[in-house]
């Protein structure tokens, strides 16, 4: 029985966003008997709606509201209106994500301590650590069905993986396998095993990949405690004279602007929209934006050190067949400063279809250097680099007062400059990735620039000291006790791992905390 709550019901928890953070939090709270209204900016799309077509799917799912970019990153030049490739739909970017589910390494929770100060970086230790998070990771892996955890076997390797594995082993890498993936390797529960269809980024039509759209959300709705309002765009969080939040002004699916009252508000709109909403919620009491006494809202934007390497061979690979990202080398993930940078990176298999390969291989390029590479599309193997980037105060989401959205609100600008550590890491990873493919006989290797960001992190970061960040170790804002942040924007540092598993683990832990404090009457 799907719940329906009154706008005036001030007892509900309002969650903004239904992705990895918000969707998980909504279900976890609903399971504990907490009444939840989830506001989702996008519509509801389920496996039967997903499209095995890159551009059509992009049109269906991508967040395409006006955004602008600045800084020295190449995305600002090639995709100036598209800083991020993320999703506007029930389930958020868990419809699009590839499924890689890796725990942080212990040292990564304490980047400042373990790396030491890095010039130009705003490094900080998380106020939590690996021991604190271990039981929450256990729950997240169980919930998501992560392969190679518990008794779940790994996925089989596809053609792209086999090339990748052979190259990795030839270079002496040891920690090489088909990944820890939130994609079923066997039929279990309501989810069937991966059918090796490809198109993981376009929404899994089998439902083999974990997405809140068809797991957490319907599970939460079945409790009778969760109401999801689709096409409901949060515009402003309201507060009272005591500084506590009281509700959320949003535009409903018909364009009417209404206020949902709330006992607690949890912001999970991803790392660009979440700080934008806090900044757009400025008031006389909070002139710099809500929860922004530190001035850190919007700052320390991170996107991981990324890039791709494609190798061209003299025979077919057909990399698009099968699970997109079931392949990993973890040997470079540690902190080993002799390489010339702090932190580490993962190498993961990746494939794009021909239409996106044309768009992303070397944006803006033309002529035979470009087209002869595409001529060999069938003979290409591909991998993606994902490594820890440095938080920098000047990499930030700000309000672009010159460009207003359809509701008249300032749009977000995303500024990003690479840190020298990021550049050194990317170059190292390019060299290693190209060496892997050459070891298997690649006739040509292509170090491909980063795509618009899918890992968007850090703009409401977690800190022990309220001066250093926006939220405490529970994701509760330092300034407003009944306002929480529940997405990747609370990341203090990015670590080398794909962030979704950590976002989910933090959301499960946060739900436990919120329910406990509500029961105790402290929030």
């Amino acid at each position: 029985m799907v719940a329906k709550f009154e706008l005036t019901d001030a007892s509900v928890v309002v969650i903004i966003g239904t992705g990895a953070g918000g969707g998980t939090l909504a279900n976890e709270l609903a399971q504990k008997g907490v009444k939840v209204v989830a506001l989702e900016a996008g519509g509801r799309y389920l496996p039967e709606d997903y499209l095995n077509d890159e551009w059509d799917s992009f049109g269906q799912l991508a967040w395409l509201d006006a955004r602008s970019t600045s800084g020295d990153w190449r995305v600002a030049k090639d995709f100036s209106g598209l800083p991020a490739w993320i999703v506007k739909a029930v389930g958020g970017t868990t419809t699009h994500w590839a499924g890689a589910s890796l725990r942080f390494q212990d040292h990564e929770w304490k980047a400042l301590t373990n790396y030491g100060p890095v010039q130009g970086a705003n490094l900080l230790d998380w106020p939590i650590d690996g021991a604190e998070m271990a039981p929450w990771y256990d729950k997240a892996e169980e919930k998501m069905g992560v392969t190679r955890t518990g008794d779940r076997p790994g996925l089989p390797g596809n053609n792209n993986y086999k090339v990748f594995e052979k190259g990795a082993l030839a270079l002496g890498y040891k920690d090489v396998h088909t990944g820890r993936m939130a994609i079923q390797s066997t039929d279990a529960g309501n989810r069937i095993a991966c059918q090796q269809t490809g198109f993981c980024f376009q929404g899994c039509k089998w439902g083999a990949k974990w997405s809140t759209a068809y797991t957490e959300i319907p599970d939460g709705e079945a409790t009778g405690n969760l109401e999801v309002r689709e096409r409901a765009m949060a515009l402003k969080i309201e507060h009272d004279a005591s500084g506590k939040v009281t509700g959320v002004l949003y535009a409903d699916k018909d364009g009417n602007q209404v206020v949902q009252k709330a006992r607690i508000v949890c912001v999970a709109g991803n790392t660009i929209e979440s700080p934008r909403l806090l900044l757009n919620s400025a008031s006389d009491m909070f002139p710099d934006g809500l929860a922004n006494s530190s001035g850190q809202v919007g700052r320390n934007y991170m996107r991981h050190v990324t890039g791709s390497v494609y190798g061209v061979f003299d025979k077919p690979v057909k990399m698009w067949r099968g699970t997109t990202m079931a392949g990993i080398v973890q040997d470079e993930a540690g902190h080993n400063p002799e390489r010339g940078f702090v932190g580490g990176y993962e190498l993961e298999t990746l494939a794009l279809g021909l239409p996106f390969m044309a768009a992303f291989l070397d944006p803006g390029a033309w002529g035979r250097e470009f087209t002869t590479a595409l001529d060999s599309y069938e003979n290409m193997a591909g991998m993606w680099i994902v490594g820890e980037d440095m938080p920098q105060e000047t990499n930030r989401v700000t309000l672009n007062m010159d460009v207003k959205d359809q509701f008249g609100l300032p749009t977000p600008n995303v500024h990003f400059d690479d840190h020298p550590n990021d550049v050194a890491m990317r170059n190292h990873a390019y060299e290693r990735g190209m060496a892997m493919y050459k070891a298997v006989g690649a006739t040509r290797v292509l170090p491909t620039p980063p795509y618009p960001s899918t890992h968007n992190l850090g703009t409401n970061r977690m800190s022990e000291n309220p001066r250093d960040g926006v939220v405490n170790k529970w994701g509760q804002t330092h300034d407003v006790p009944n306002l929480f942040v529940s997405d990747g924007s609370q990341f203090t540092t990015g670590a080398a791992e794909n962030p979704t598993l950590t976002i989910v683990a933090l959301a499960i832990r946060q739900a436990d905390h919120i329910a406990r404090e509500m029961a105790a009457g402290t929030i």
């Binding site: 596809n158 039509k205 698009w320 099968g322 595409l374 001529d375 599309y377």
Partner: protein, 165 residues
């Protein structure tokens, strides 16, 4: 229209195209495209420009023609005619009779490099990224198989069939 009829109503333009009143076609009449707002010679030059930007020797002109057909509208015509006129002027400036009359690809590419930063060039190039590569009919020429869900994915159709490693 038969091949003979078509060829009887056209004149050769460069070595690559024939044009007639309101159409551009392949010299062997393998394909033909009517033009509405653009001069046929302009469309022929635009098709050659598209190929020179993204040259794939195994892709027929027809697919390039489809990729730029969207510019053949009253709305777009003035900008395209002006852009192609500038392209021809650049070719003449380099000692060639016209852009289409420039025999070697490398010479045409030199002309394009000279106007690479122009809004016209970038519009044509940007449009081709989807106009050419998102045509489902060209995907098989690259070996790309497209949609696979309706066929049950590749679990029983070769997701791991690589045999040369």
């Amino acid at each position: 229209m038969t091949r003979r009829q078509l060829l009887s109503r056209s004149v050769a333009l460069g070595a690559t195209f024939v044009v007639g009143a309101g159409f551009v076609a392949a010299p062997n009449a393998a394909w033909a495209m009517e033009t509405v707002a653009l001069k046929p010679a302009t469309m022929a030059t635009l098709i050659q420009m598209a190929r020179d930007i993204y040259p794939h020797d195994r892709i027929a002109d027809e697919f390039y023609a489809i990729a730029v057909k969207g510019y053949d509208t009253a709305e777009a015509a003035a900008e395209i005619e002006a852009g192609i006129a500038a392209l021809d002027a650049a070719a003449v400036g380099a000692g060639h009779p016209s852009y289409l009359g420039t025999g070697w690809e490398r010479d045409r590419v030199d002309i394009l490099r000279g106007m690479e930063q122009s809004a016209f060039f970038q519009k044509i190039r940007g449009g081709l990224v989807t106009g050419l590569y998102n045509q489902k009919a060209v995907w098989p020429l690259f070996g790309y198989e497209g949609e696979s869900f309706s066929q049950g994915g590749y679990i029983e159709r070769g997701f791991d069939d690589i045999n040369w490693l």
